[in-house]
């Protein structure tokens, strides 16, 4: 075990700011990419179902 206490873990031997900024920002960006992707899927599906409805109403006439 490397760390005597939780605060020592956060402190990272004085480099806490640099270490945690690097990891924090990286994982925040991963999360952001996933968020954008699911949003893109939702808007795409909405648009596709609209096209579908339009085609169906045109077909029934």
């Amino acid at each position: 075990m490397n760390w005597g206490s939780f605060s020592a873990f956060l402190h990272m031997g004085g480099y806490g700011f640099y270490v945690w900024s690097s990891f924090g920002l990286s994982f925040a960006l991963f999360a952001l990419e996933l968020l954008f992707l699911s949003k893109r899927r939702r808007t795409l599906l909405k648009r596709l179902s609209q096209i579908q409805k339009m085609n169906a109403s045109r077909g029934s006439k």
Binding site: Y18, L25, L34, L48, N55
Partner: protein, 248 residues
Amino acid sequence: MGKINWYKYASPASFYGLAGKMIPGFAALSIVFFVVGLYIGFFVAPTDAQQGEAYRIIFIHVPAAWMSMFIYIVMAVYSGIGLAFNTRLSAMMAQALAPTGALFAFIALFTGSFWGKPMWGTWWVWDARLTSQLILFFLYVGYISLQAAIDDPRRSDRASALIALVGVINVPIIYFSVKWWNTLHQGASISFTKAPTMAYTMLAGMLFMAIACWMYTIAVALYRVRLIILERERHSIWVSELLTEGLR
């Protein structure tokens, strides 16, 4: 074992289904490897004699830098196949990889910056390694904006494939920059020609994180390629059938 009909999976319609089945597995593997990699990186790997705890940035910095280079090569290969054989799916795969590649290039740059400031004493220098990595990031941005700028998919595939293929020269330049020129950036700790110059547990943490990034990339690229397939094939019969069946 029966022969798998690979041609079947080269068509966007059937690849759409296959990709959908593969995503959960890669996503789960990615989470597992991230957890193990972070655990080794923070709790098992010892502190570094020279750099103290600041070196732990390596566990995200190096995998991200590797991924940014590797994704670009894979993207160029898909683009090349798309250009040569006019296959729709490979062009879509190249397009699906680009944003994730750009993300990793960016992560490599800013984690490097956050490492350089406390260790070297500067956020940024224009040495050959850092400059060529920045160029890689701009190549990704150029690829993505060119793809988005041209409406006709066939033409945009061809144009962006050219950027991907020309820009691939930059990848070996990044990799060998620390050998070819005097740089502030140190040489490679892991290479094909000599034993790694890292303690064993440090190396293990880095490799686990690299595998995690791989799994993440595959899952995200498959997810994105499915969206691209739907988008591009929206007027085809199989998509409207899929929609009436109810899309999962």
